[in-house]
Symmetry: C2
Subunit: 119 residues, 2 copies
């Protein structure tokens, strides 16, 4: 029951596309992640994901449209929906998703992080 | 899959202690709430709750200590733990909790909101 300071936690890492766990509640983790460039197309079979933008502007690509998510905004990507996050400049986000969620969803690649660390 | 702007949603209501739903994912709701003054002592039997402070400074009282949660910080209150949020000045928070969560937990009072609205 310690307060977690988002800026302080974000200062502890600089790698991109590698979510860090900062909290857990119910069946979910709260994670922070820094994004830059393009991720990969993927979906999550059983998990909805929340992306809240803390810094920068996230472009969330879907197969039928692109959605811009600015600082102070969040988007929820429902299970089963293919998406690809893109960050033209560095973006910092807070992610909320079930503990079972793999960052690359149905795809395995060099971007897959099997066991995210706590920071 | 529309981006939700937190400031815009916060501008739509002004009542205190009345959580508004702004999103749902998995078994949880994302809610916004404005706090001012003291709430009541309560706990949630089966739900952990996340409080992320967007504006102001939240004082979270526990039976054995007080914890200050500032803008840009979050705290997770585990199930079963008695707590009382206090806001000396107005505080805005984003709450994440299972859909089954009643704002006053194990207590029924005039502060109880049975069916939070969407905004």
């Amino acid at each position: 029951m310690t307060p977690i300071n988002l800026s302080q936690k974000l200062s502890l890492f600089s790698d991109h596309w590698s979510p860090k766990i900062v909290g857990e509640l119910n069946d979910s983790y709260v994670k922070l992640v820094k994004l830059k460039g393009e991720f990969i197309w993927h979906h999550h079979e059983n998990e909805d994901e929340l992306f809240l933008v803390l810094h920068g502007t996230l472009l969330m690509k879907f197969r039928d449209r692109d959605v811009t998510v600015r600082k102070g905004e969040f988007i929820i990507v429902p299970r089963g929906v293919e998406h690809m996050p893109v960050a033209r400049e560095e973006v910092h986000i807070i992610l909320l998703e079930p503990k079972t969620t793999l960052n690359t969803g149905d795809v395995r690649s060099e971007r897959t992080v099997e066991n995210p660390e706590w920071v």
